[in-house]
Every structure is written in structure tokens, then in C-alpha cells.
């Protein structure tokens, strides 16, 4: 299968949306495109596993197109297990996002156009095997996010949109300087070429922080996480889902695939800093969440905390922890998208997101309440749901590091789960349980498109939680290949 298909479908859909005369056609095109994408990604997974069972390769469906020969830049695409699993996440979240915005009434054409465009950027990012292409797709998503939050958002939307765009652009600027450094050292942007290059250690010490912080801003690295709460809280539901579910994963994926993979010496050298920062994010995020009275802010801060686990896994940099980081990216993507979907559905009906103003929704909104509870339980790491698997893997991985202070960091991070339980259960108690408020008596439960959206995400969460070995099979040894470069460094020492 040609991977370009995954880029062409959203592109055609986006153009079709702009040209279509009726709102219903806009919705149908978006839904069709996201369903096609899901099928394509599923087919891609199937084919990849088939090929791999015959002969394992570092990359599947690889394609190289000449682009700027005088710079030695090719349009190089290909996937491996990690990329495919991130693409499955993208397909699910985009599909759910399209379904949940079915009734979008303000400028629906532009809304779905931007949504398709965002998904195009994410697919491109995950399949890129050339860091120029990767950077292109990383920046591609900034403007659609700005417009989605600024036009369809709520609250201080313009402030949040501007903050998000400028902070992400600052991240890109750091990444750009890092890329320029890599290029001038190796005269190539191709990851396959670069992975065979060993960069001088002094060079790595200088450029690793640039790349890591640059990508880290996208992944809510503490203390550069401040765009997350405002951005997520102001964005419309589908955009929040996309932002938290996929966009933040671009950063984590970049940290792993570009920064730590290419510069293992520096990854080991700076590990203490990353571990401290991510522990800060985990604890700080969890405690700040306790204070939130707005459901969206609550979920946004808890995202900061959860993304801290991703960074912790990458920081510890052993096979299990990196594997855990990848799992956490996917799990958090599904879980937080589901949570935002549930909050969006509640907000659409009650017109409030304040925890204190809600209550007893279970009686009138059983489906939505169930979704809300499951998302919450997944967030606090209940066994059987995806959150448990992912966080467990990160903890086991970081416990493997025998130094006292990494273990203390692990224990502290583990302790954050208790805090998570406090805010999740308290929110559930106040919003879902108790006597229903009079104003909410007339509410009606989720309709078909909302149910569909939730079911797709729920399916992902359950499959990952009950049968984690499936995902392990897909990801395979690829976490190990990334880490092996680091292990090699340690052996040489």
C-alpha cells in the first residue's frame, strides 16, 4: 500500500468540503474520509504484520521521492510499529472528533476543513522518515489549531489561541535550530542516514536540549506546559480531543524519534534533568487539578500530569520505560479524547462546565455518565483499562533503574495516582451522583453520533486494557531499537 494514500484522502476531503454546497454534504464527506482513513490504517496494520511475520525490516512501505536534490532533501516516508500504532490513535480520535461535532452550526464548512487539515498533518508527521518532512508536518498543525480555538472556542479564546500558537511556534523555532545543527553536521535530514551517524558528544550536549525542549513544548514538558490548560479549555470539543489526543503526542514522538534516538549520549547525560522535570509535571499537574472547578480545566491539567509519564518514560530511557511511554501516549490519547468528548456532551446539554453547578446527571444521562466514569477510571489507572497498562509499564521501567533518586522519583510519581483518584472520584461524585438538579430534569441522553464517537474510543481503551499483548505485538522490538543506541553508549563507557 502506498502511504501517500493516507495523505491524499484527507486532502481530497478538505478540498471537497470547501467546494460542497450543503452542510449535510460537508458532514458526510468528513465522516466518509475519517472512516476510510480508519479502514486504511487497519489495512496498513494488517499488511505490515503480514510482511513482518515473513521478514522483519526496519521500515515498511518505504517510499523515497526526490525533493530538493541540492540540499539532499528527499520526501521519505515509511512506517514501523510505533508509527502505525500512533496512526491508529489518530484515526480513532479524528473519527470521534468528526462524529462529536456533527451538529456544529457556526461555519461548519471551515470547521471540518480545518479538522481534516489537522489530521493530514498528524498522519504526515507519523509517516515522515526525514526530519525536514517531519518538521513541515509538525508546523502544519499550528495554524488550524489557532483558528479552531479562536473561532469556535469559548471563554478567553483569543488569548488562548494566541498563546498556543506562539508557544508552539517557539517550540518549532528551537527544533529548527536543532535541525540546522544536525544538517550541518551530517548533511542529510534522512533518519535512516542520520541513525548511522554518530554525532560528537559536545555537539550532542549542545543540540539535544534544543530539540528536546522544542518537541517538549508540544508535549507539555514542565515548565513549558502553560499553553495546555488554556488551549484545551478554550477549544471546541473536537479540537480539545485532537489537541490532547494527538497533538501532544507529536511532541513525545519527536522527543523519542528525533532527539533521544539520534543523540543517545546526550539523552543519558540529560536524563536526570528530564526525570526531575517530568516528576514535577506529574505532581504539579495532579495537585493543580485538585483545585480546578471547571471540568475542562480539570482534564487539561490532568493531561499535563499524564504527559509527564510519557516524558518520564523517555527520560529513564530503557526498553521497558520507552515502551511504557509509547503505551502512555496512545492510552492518554484515547482516554483524554473520550473525557473531552464526555465533557463536551455534558456542556452541550447543560451549558455549564463548573463542577459545582452540575449534579445527578446519571439519572437523565446514563450513557454520557457511564462514558464519563469510564474515562475517569481509565485516568486513575484502573486495571482492565488502558491507563493501567501504560502507567504500569512506565513505573516498572523506571524502577529498573537502580539509583536511589530515580526510584524516589518513581515513588513520587506513583503517589500522584492517589491524587488523581481524589479529583476523579470527587468530580464523578459531584457531577454524576447525587440528586439531580431541577434545571437538568428535561435533558436527554446521547444521540447516535455521540454514542458512535464514544464507542470507537471506548473500544480502543478496552482492547488496550484487556489485551495489552496485542499492542505489544504491533510495537514489537522497535522500542528496543531506539533504546539500544543508548545501551551501546553505556557499554562503551
Amino acid at each position: 500500500m502506498n502511504l501517500l494514500l493516507l495523505l491524499i484522502v484527507p486532502l481530497i476531503a478538505a478540498i471537497g468540503i470547501m467546494l460542497s454546497p450543503r452542510v449535510s454534504a460537508v458532514r458526510q464527506i468528513s465522516l466518509a474520509a475519517s472512516l476510510i482513513q480508519l479502514v486504511l490504517v487497519g489495512w496498513l496494520l494488517f499488511q505490515m504484520l503480514n510482511t513482518r511475520s515473513v521478514s522483519a525490516q526496519p521500515l515498511y512501505f518505504e517510499k523515497v521521492y526526490q525533493w530538493f536534490p541540492s540540499w539532499n532533501i528527499q520526501f521519505h516516508i515509511g512506517v514501523d510499529g510505533i508509527a502505525v500504532s500512533m496512526m491508529i490513535l489518530t484515526a480513532l480520535v479524528v473519527l470521534a472528533g468528526v462524529l462529536i461535532s456533527w451538529q456544529e452550526s457556526i461555519l461548519p464548512k471551515e470547521f471540518f476543513f480545518l479538522l481534516m487539515f489537522l489530521s493530514l498533518g498528524a498522519y504526515g508527521f507519523f509517516m515522515a522518515r526525514d526530519i525536514f518532512t517531519l518538521f513541515f508536518f509538525l508546523e502544519l498543525a499550528v495554524i488550524p489549531k489557532f483558528l479552531l480555538i479562536g473561532i469556535w472556542g469559548s471563554g478567553q479564546k483569543e488569548y488562548s489561541a494566541m498563546k498556543l500558537a506562539l508557544m508552539l511556534m517557539a517550540g518549532s523555532a528551537l527544533v529548527f535550530v536543532g535541525l540546522a545543527g544536525i544538517y550541518l553536521e551530517a548533511h542529510s535530514f534522512d533518519l535512516s542516514v542520520l541513525s548511522a551517524t554518530h554525532f560528537p558528544v559536545a555537539f550532542q550536549y549542545l543540540f539535544y536540549p534544543l530539540l528536546f525542549i522544542g518537541f517538549g513544548i508540544f508535549a507539555a514538558l514542565f515548565p513549558f506546559h502553560t499553553w495546555v490548560p488554556d488551549g484545551h479549555a478554550s477549544a471546541p470539543t473536537a479540537a480539545s480531543m485532537f489537541l490532547a489526543g494527538i497533538s501532544m503526542k507529536l511532541g513525545g514522538y519527536g522527543c523519542l524519534r528525533v532527539a533521544s534516538f539520534l543523540m543517545p549520549d546526550a539523552a543519558i547525560h540529560y536524563a536526570p534533568v528530564i526525570i526531575v522535570l517530568s516528576t514535577c509535571a506529574i505532581l504539579y499537574g495532579a495537585f493543580v487539578t485538585l483545585l480546578q472547578s471547571d471540568l475542562k480545566y480539570m482534564n487539561a491539567y490532568s493531561s499535563v500530569s499524564h504527559c509527564g509519564f510519557v516524558m518520564l518514560g523517555i527520560g529513564v530511557f530503557n526498553t521497558t520505560s520507552v515502551y511504557g511511554a509509547i503505551l502512555q501516549m496512545i492510552s492518554h490519547g484515547l482516554m483524554t479524547a473520550l473525557f473531552f468528548a464526555a465533557i463536551g456532551m455534558i456542556y452541550y446539554r447543560t451549558h455549564t462546565r463548573k463542577i459545582d453547578e452540575l449534579g445527578g446527571l446519571l439519572a437523565k444521562l446514563p450513557f454520557i455518565s457511564t462514558v464519563f466514569v469510564i474515562a475517569g477510571l481509565c485516568s486513575l489507572g484502573l486495571p482492565g483499562l488502558s491507563g493501567f497498562v501504560a502507567e504500569m509499564a512506565v513505573f516498572v521501567g523506571s524502577w529498573e533503574d537502580k539509583s536511589l533518586w530515580v526510584r524516589s522519583a518513581t515513588v513520587l510519581s506513583c503517589a500522584s495516582i492517589v491524587v488523581t483518584a481524589v479529583y476523579i472520584l470527587r468530580a464523578t461524585g459531584k457531577v454524576i451522583m447525587g440528586p439531580i438538579r431541577e434545571t437538568f430534569v428535561a435533558l436527554s441522553d446521547a444521540v447516535w453520533y455521540e454514542k458512535m464517537a464514544a464507542i470507537f474510543l471506548l473500544a480502543g481503551i478496552f482492547v488496550m486494557g484487556i489485551a495489552p499483548f496485542l499492542l505489544q505485538y504491533v510495537i514489537g522490538n522497535e522500542a528496543a531499537t531506539i533504546v539500544n543506541r543508548g545501551a551501546q553508549v553505556l557499554i562503551n563507557k
Partner: protein, 470 residues
């Protein structure tokens, strides 16, 4: 001398005939403005096509007039920009008195640029430069009853006269040292005497004035704001591009000896330009002033690419100029419509433009994204390559400062986008249909913004043209 050797002058000959033709036609026939515009648009298009007719190489008049595929390409680019400007200014041109005069002035200016690009001798170069600047002062004054327009023309004349004087001073010193003004003589005999450095710096300051690099930029904002949009677009795209195109062989070949001097000078000019222009741009309330400061910042980025002193550096500069042409002309095209049809030039007046004018809003937004260097617009590729070639001497701090400035610049571009898309209209604007030429020009610009960046082949083409540049 064979006749066909003279054919390397084909574009200059055509333009001169066109200018004389306009004069004669104006004398004998009383045509309506619409007819004039139609005729001129056709001839301006023919002028582009003439660039593709062959006769690439040649030297005339004892090596004072040169031609090469590179120079032809640059001339075509400038002609293309003038054609687009003429198309999108339709609304303004239609209402104008003495319309042919306007074309006369701009065409003369273009002819001057042709001469400047082809010059192989500082004297001819100076002639071309003056010929390209002076008519613009007349054109800037074309809104006869607007005081601002006259002010802008006056400022343009004074500042360009001042910069020319400095330039001429440098040229005369060089002549005093070497007794010749041929590029070939200068490049071999300039040496390292303090006098030659002084002379070179004078010439470089003259250039910096013309491209309005900081600290020689003070005339820019006032002139851009006061002049009619068509002239502002011409100043910011065509004039600047022409001078930067001349700077490539000038710095890389003629004054290659002085690389130490011009390298540090360019870096200083570049960083000052991006920083100062961006900080000033944040404050602007008027769209034309904003674009003026943004164009100063763009010049800063161009100078970073130019400082690379490599074939890829020069290629990136020309590649960026082609992209800048589309992006900036698209922005000015929209401003031209807004200002001539609705009389709106302040950013605040554009609140909620999207609800009444979606097409104009998208064009303006995409052109600003392109100027900010955000994908998928071509500006991303342009800036990426400029900075990447600027870094090739290991000057990471230069591109780090430039990259930070891209973030600052994003702020003021996004502020305009925010006003258009997110604010609510104060007074809803009535929706007048766009005239065909305007729409046509804007669509061409839009295609350019969206497509040119992806064209690796185009980049390679420029790269080949620049073979042997250093």
C-alpha cells in the same frame, strides 16, 4: 558586430518601444481608462513572454552590458510582478486621471531595473538605479489631492537622493583608486587598502538604503503608508527584489575580496532589521505600515541567506524572492481592494471581514502565513532554506535570533488574522463583487503561495542558473 548580438537587449528594446508607443497613443487617441488598462495588461504580459525567447548569453558595449539566463530569469520575475500589480490595482486605476502617465512611470522604472541587472560597469549600474528610483517618486505622488501622497513622494525623493549621493561617493572613490569602473577590473584590483574599504562601505550603505535595511529604514513606513497601494507594492516587491538580485553577483563576484567586511556588515544589518522591524511592527495599527515593517524584516531574513556566500545561499535568496513576490503581492492586492473599494486601511476596520468577504480574508490570511513562514505556504520553504544556508558558517546564534524573530513576527501577523476571523464586525461592509482582473491576480498569487514552495524542480532550476556564482 552582428545584428543578432543586439538581441540580448530585446527586453529593453521592447520596453522602450512600449514607452514611446504609450506616449504616441496618448497624444493621438483619447481612450477610456478601461481600454488603457486592457491594452497595458496585454503588453505587460507580452513583456513577460519576451523573456522566454532565447538569446541568453551576450556582452555588449565593451562588456558594460551583460546578459545570461540568470539575468533573464530575474527580469522575468520583475516583469511578472509588475503585471500582477497592474492586474490587482484595477479598481484604483480605473478611477484615475492621467492613467497612461502612471504606466509610463512604472515602465521607466522597470527599464531602469533591467539596465541595473544587466550592467557590467558601475556607471551603467548607477544610471539604471537612478532611472528606477526617480519615476517612483512621481508615481508615489499619484493621489493628487492627498497630502500624504505628496509627503510620501517628497520623502522618497529626498531619501533616495541622499542614498544615491552616498553610493556615488563610494563609486567615485573606487574610480579614483583604479581608474576604471568595470566589474571585472574591480574584482581583480580592489585590494585591501583602507580607502577601498571605505568606498565599499559607502556603496553598501547605498544598497542598504534602497532595500531599507535597519538602520537605513526610516523613510520606509511613511512612504509606504502615503503612496497609493500599487506604488507601495511596486516599491516593496519589485524595487527591493531588483536591488537584492544585483547584490548577489555584486557581493559574490565583484567584491569577493571584501568578504570579511561585507559578511559582518550583512549579519549586523540583518539582525538589526529583523529585530527592529518586528518590534515596530507589533505597534502598528495601519495595515500598510504593518506590511512596510514586515517587508523590512523580510529583508533581514534575505540578508542572512545572502551572507552565506554559497551557491545554495544565492539560490535560496532568489527562491525566497519569488515566494515573497507572490505572498507580498497577495497581501497588497487585498489591501488595494479594501482601500480603493471600501476606503479601509486600518487593521481595526477589518473586524469580522471574514463574514462578508471570505475570499479576500483567506487570501490575506494565507499571504500573511506565508510571510510568517508557516507551512503549507511557500514562505515556510523560503525561510527554511534562507536560514539553513545562513547557518552554514556555523553561526548558530544568528539563526537562533532569526528563529526567535519568526515567533515575534507570527504575533503581529496572527493579530491581523484574529481581527479578520474572530472579531465581530463593527459596521458590516457591503459586498461589492471583485472585478475580474483583480480576482485573476489574487488567484494567481494564491496558487503561487500554495504551490511554489513544493516545487523542488524550480529550486533546482534556480540552482543551475547560479552555477559558478562563487
Amino acid at each position: 558586430m552582428l545584428v543578432y548580438e543586439w538581441l540580448i537587449l530585446k527586453q529593453e528594446i521592447f520596453l522602450s518601444l512600449l514607452i514611446v508607443g504609450i506616449l504616441l497613443l496618448w497624444l493621438f487617441r483619447d481612450l477610456s481608462n478601461e481600454t488603457w488598462i486592457r491594452i497595458m495588461n496585454i503588453f505587460l504580459f507580452v513583456n513577460i513572454l519576451i523573456g522566454f525567447t532565447g538569446f541568453h548569453y551576450g556582452k555588449l558595449f565593451g562588456d558594460t552590458f551583460l546578459s545570461s539566463p540568470l539575468i533573464l530569469f530575474e527580469k522575468v520575475l520583475l516583469s511578472f510582478a509588475l503585471w500582477l500589480i497592474s492586474l490587482f490595482s484595477y479598481g484604483w486605476l480605473r478611477k484615475m486621471k492621467n492613467l497612461p502617465e502612471f504606466y509610463l512611470l512604472l515602465l521607466t522604472s522597470l527599464l531602469g531595473m533591467y539596465i541595473m541587472l544587466s550592467a557590467g560597469n558601475l556607471l551603467l549600474f548607477y544610471l539604471g538605479l537612478e532611472m528606477s528610483t526617480l519615476p517612483l517618486a512621481g508615481a508615489a505622488n499619484f493621489e493628487f489631492n492627498s497630502k500624504k501622497s505628496s509627503e510620501s513622494a517628497m520623502k522618497l525623493v529626498l531619501s533616495s537622493a541622499f542614498s544615491s549621493a552616498i553610493l556615488l561617493m563610494g563609486i567615485s572613490w573606487l574610480y579614483g583608486m583604479m581608474g576604471s569602473l568595470d566589474y571585472s577590473v574591480i574584482s581583480t584590483q580592489i585590494g585591501h587598502s583602507p580607502l577601498s574599504i571605505m568606498a565599499f562601505l559607502f556603496i553598501l550603505s547605498g544598497f542598504a538604503f534602497k532595500i531599507s535595511a535597519v538602520p537605513f529604514h526610516l523613510w520606509t513606513a511613511d512612504v509606504y503608508q502615503g503612496a497609493p497601494v500599487a506604488v507601495t507594492a511596486f516599491l516593496s516587491v519589485v524595487s527591493k527584489s531588483a536591488v537584492i538580485m544585483v547584490m548577489i553577483p555584486f557581493l559574490y563576484q565583484t567584491f569577493e575580496e571584501k568578504i570579511d567586511v561585507w559578511y559582518s556588515a550583512l549579519i549586523m544589518l540583518a539582525l538589526a532589521s529583523v529585530l527592529v522591524a518586528n518590534l515596530f511592527a507589533i505597534q502598528q495599527l495601519n495595515l500598510k505600515r504593518l506590511l512596510a515593517f514586515s517587508s523590512i524584516a523580510q529583508v533581514g531574513f534575505l540578508l542572512i541567506g545572502l551572507s552565506a556566500h554559497s551557491q545554495t545561499g544565492a539560490t535560496s535568496v532568489l527562491f525566497f524572492l519569488s515566494i515573497y513576490l507572490f505572498s507580498n503581492l497577495a497581501a497588497f492586492g487585498v489591501v488595494s481592494v479594501l482601500s480603493s473599494e471600501y476606503g479601509k486601511e486600518e487593521i481595526q476596520q477589518l473586524s469580522g471581514l471574514y463574514s462578508t468577504h471570505p475570499f479576500l480574508s483567506w487570501v490575506l490570511a494565507l499571504s500573511l502565513f506565508s510571510l510568517a513562514g508557516i507551512p503549507p505556504t511557500a514562505g515556510f520553504f523560503g525561510k527554511f532554506f534562507l536560514l539553513l544556508s545562513g547557518a552554514n558558517k556555523g553561526n548558530y546564534w544568528v539563526i537562533a535570533i532569526a528563529a526567535i524573530n519568526m515567533v515575534i513576527s507570527l504575533y503581529y501577523y496572527l493579530r491581523v488574522v484574529k481581527t479578520i476571523f474572530m472579531n465581530h464586525p463593527v459596521t458590516p461592509m457591503e459586498n461589492k463583487p471583485l472585478a475580474f482582473p483583480v480576482k485573476f491576480a489574487l488567484i494567481i498569487c494564491l496558487l503561487g503561495i500554495l504551490v511554489v514552495g513544493f516545487l523542488g524542480g524550480f529550486y533546482e532550476h534556480i540552482f543551475q542558473l547560479l552555477n559558478g556564482i562563487n
